[in-house]
Amino acid sequence: MLRFENIVKAFTQGETKTYALKGVSGSIQRGETVALCGPSGSGKSTLLNICGLLDNDYEGELFFDDEKVTGGINAATKMRRERIGFIFQRYNLIEAMTAFDNVEYPLLLTNENKSDRKEKVLSILKQVGLAGHEYKRPDQLSGGQQQRVAVARALVKKPDLVIADEPTANLDTETATVIIDLMRELGASIQTTFLVATHDSRMTERCHRTLNLQDGMLFDEVVGSVEEPQTKTLAKGAKHAEHQVSMV
C-alpha cells in the first residue's frame, strides 16, 4: 500500500547540513499497523511527515498503491484530503468546533452530502464512545475524549492510511489502552493502514510490525508482539548512503 525508497531528508542551518533520514526504504501492506520507534532525533516524525505527504522536501521516492507520488503541494493536499487521516499527540482539534463539527470536517472536504455526513459522524462518535458528547467543544472534553474525537475524525472518511504521531503520549495508561484498542478495531473494520510513531510499548505490542529508527536509518524490525518478537537487524553503525535498507 505504502512504499518509500531511499528517503533522504536533510536540514540545512547556515553551512551545516544535518541528515534526519539517511536513505530509508520500506513498505507497508494494506490493513497493516506499523509502529515507528526510536529515540528522539532518530527521524521517526520526519519519516511520518513524509509518508503523510506533509513534507515534500526530500530525496527519494514514495509510492501509494505502487503509484509514485508526484505533483506539487495541491496534489499532495488532494491526496491527504481523500486518502489520509491524521491523529496527533496533542489531539489538534479545532477549538471553535464541536466534537460533531470536528469529525464532520474531513467529510465536508470530500463533498459528502449532509445527511450522509450526519449519519457517518454520529455513527463513528457512538463507536468511539462519545454518544451524548457530540455537541461539546474540545475544552468541555477530557484528554481521552478529545483523542477519541481525533480518532473518529481520522477514520470517518475511511482513509487508506492513518498517520498517528505519538497518539497516546498525553494520555494516562487506561485511556491510552482504550485509544489503542479503538484505533485497532475501527481500523481493522475498514482495512485502514496505520503508521504510528510511538514510544509506547502498549502501542507497539498491538502493532503488526515495529520499525526501529536510529540516527536517521532503519535499525531493526520487530515482527509480531513483544511476547514473541522476531527481530531482524537491518542496519547498524552504517554510514549514510551505504545503508539503504530494503524491507520489501
Binding site: 511527515n49 503523510g52 506533509l54 513534507d55 503541494i73 495541491n74 493536499t77 488532494k78 491526496m79 491527504r80 484530503r81 481523500e82 489520509i84 491524521f86 496527533f88 496533542r90 489538534n92 479545532i94 477549538e95 471553535a96 468546533m97 463539527d101 464532520e104 470536517y105 474531513p106 465536508l108 472536504l109 475524525r153
Partner: protein, 405 residues
C-alpha cells in the same frame, strides 16, 4: 455555510479581541457616515442657497458673464416681460425674477461710498424667502406712490459707514446707458445683513423700475428662473435653452463659485479623512488577525494536514474579517441613524463659519449611496487585512505549523 459558522465561532472565541476590532469598525463607520452626512447636509444647504441667490436658471444675452460692458446694460435683455409671462405659467416654476446689476456711488450728502446695486422686483423677497436678514426696517414695498421717493435697502456695513438709518434719504449716482451721469434720491426702507461683512459694506437693493430709470434703460441684466424643486434644474435647463436658443441659459452651479470652492475643499478633507480611517482600520484588523493567526498556527497546520487547500484556509480567515466588518458597519449605521435622530431633536447650532455672522444648525444627511460606499469600503478593508494576515499563516510549511507552540 460551514465556513460562515466556523468564522462566527472563531469570532466568539476571543470575544474581547473581536469586540475591540468590531468597535474600531463601528467608530470608523460612524465617523465616515457622520462626517460624510454632515458634508452632504452642508452641500445641500449651499446648493439651495446658491440656487436661491442666483435662481436655478439665469437667462442672459450670450456671453454676458464673459464680456465686460462698456456702459451699463450694454449686454442687457430687452422684452423680459414676454419671457417672464411665458415661464410663470409653468407649474415647476416658482418665480421669474428679472434684475438689474449696477454700480456707482452712494452719498448721504456729506459722505460718499461705492455701492454694488441690484434692482429687483418686489417678488424677489417673496420668492427667495429669508435670504437677507433685516436688522432694521422692512423689504421693499410692492408699490410706491408716484410722488414718493423710491425705496432702497442698504447693507449693514454701508448704512453704518454712511450713518443712515430707516427713513433717511440717500443719493445714488451712476452712469446711464448713454454714458451720462445720473443721480436719484432714495429713501432707506431697510438695513440688512447677509452674513458676509464684505458684502454688507457695498450691497444695496432697490426696485427694478427705479434702477432702470437711474440707468435710463428698459433692459434688465438677467432673468432668474426659480424652480420649486432644485432637482428639476437640468431638465428645465435643456427646455429653456431650446426655447430661447439665441439667449444663454446658465444653471446655478456655474455661478456658484463659493459653493464650488467649499465643496472642493470639503471633498478633499473627506477624502483624506476616509484614507486615514481606512488605514487605521486596515492596521487594526491586520494586527488583530495577525495575532489570531499566530495563536492558531497549529490549527492552520491541522486544517492543512487534513487536506484543506491554502486558499480555503485563507478564505476562512478572510470570511472572519468580512464578518467583523459586517457587524461593525451594521452597528455603525445604526449608531449613525441614532445620531441623526438625536441631532434632529437636539437642534444644536454650529458657530458662524469664517466670513459669516450667522451660525447654522448641525444636521447629518443620511445617504444610501454613501452608506453603501462606506460599508463596502470598510468590509473590503477588513477582508483584505484578514487576507493579508492569513496568507502568511497559510503559506507556513505544515510540519512547522503543526509543531508551533
Amino acid at each position: 455555510m460551514q465556513s460562515i459558522k466556523l468564522a462566527w465561532y472563531n469570532i466568539l472565541r476571543n470575544r474581547r479581541r473581536s469586540l475591540f476590532t468590531i468597535l474600531i469598525t463601528v467608530v470608523a463607520t460612524l465617523v465616515l457616515l457622520a462626517s460624510g452626512g454632515f458634508g452632504l447636509y452642508m452641500y445641500q444647504g449651499l446648493e439651495e442657497e446658491s440656487a436661491r441667490d442666483t435662481g436655478n436658471l439665469i437667462i442672459t444675452r450670450t456671453g454676458y458673464f464673459e464680456t465686460e460692458e462698456d456702459y451699463p446694460l450694454q449686454h442687457g435683455l430687452s422684452g423680459f416681460k414676454e419671457i417672464q409671462q411665458h415661464y410663470l405659467k409653468d407649474e415647476q416654476v416658482k418665480a421669474v425674477l428679472p434684475n438689474v446689476d449696477f454700480q456707482g456711488l452712494i452719498s448721504n450728502g456729506e459722505k460718499t461710498a461705492i455701492f454694488m446695486g441690484k434692482g429687483v422686483e418686489h417678488g424677489e423677497f417673496l420668492a427667495k424667502g429669508p435670504f437677507i436678514n433685516f436688522i432694521e426696517g422692512h423689504a421693499l414695498s410692492a408699490e410706491v406712490e408716484a410722488s414718493a421717493d423710491p425705496e432702497i435697502l442698504l447693507g449693514k456695513g454701508l448704512a453704518k459707514n454712511l450713518k443712515v438709518s430707516v427713513g433717511d434719504i440717500v443719493t445714488l449716482l451712476s452712469t446711464t446707458t448713454d454714458n451720462v451721469m445720473n443721480a436719484m434720491d432714495f429713501k432707506v426702507k431697510g438695513v440688512f445683513s447677509t452674513g458676509i461683512p464684505e458684502l454688507e459694506k457695498r450691497m444695496i437693493y432697490t426696485d427694478l423700475n427705479s434702477a432702470q430709470i437711474l440707468l435710463d434703460s428698459d433692459r434688465v441684466s438677467s432673468i432668474a428662473i426659480h424652480l420649486f424643486d432644485i432637482d428639476n434644474t437640468s431638465a428645465k435647463l435643456d427646455e429653456v435653452q431650446s426655447q430661447y436658443s439665441e439667449l444663454e441659459v446658465t444653471p446655478w452651479w456655474e455661478r456658484a463659485f463659493y459653493y464650488r470652492d467649499v465643496k472642493n475643499l470639503f471633498d478633499l478633507i473627506f477624502a483624506l479623512l476616509g484614507i486615514v480611517i481606512s488605514l487605521i482600520v486596515f492596521l487594526a484588523i491586520s494586527n488583530t488577525m495577525g495575532m489570531t493567526i499566530m495563536e492558531r498556527t497549529r490549527e492552520i497546520g491541522t486544517l492543512a494536514a487534513m487536506g484543506t487547500y491554502r486558499y480555503e484556509i485563507t478564505r476562512n480567515f478572510t470570511l472572519e474579517g468580512l464578518m467583523i466588518g459586517l457587524i461593525g458597519t451594521v452597528t455603525g449605521i445604526a449608531l449613525t441613524l441614532a445620531l441623526i435622530g438625536f441631532l434632529n431633536v437636539a437642534n444644536i447650532e454650529m458657530p458662524p463659519p469664517p466670513g459669516s455672522t450667522q451660525g447654522f444648525p448641525i444636521a447629518i444627511n443620511f445617504s444610501l449611496g454613501l452608506t453603501l460606499f462606506s460599508s463596502i469600503l470598510l468590509m473590503t478593508i477588513c477582508a483584505m487585512a484578514a487576507w493579508f494576515a492569513a496568507r502568511s499563516g497559510a503559506r507556513k510549511p505544515i510540519v512547522e505549523a503543526l509543531s508551533y507552540v
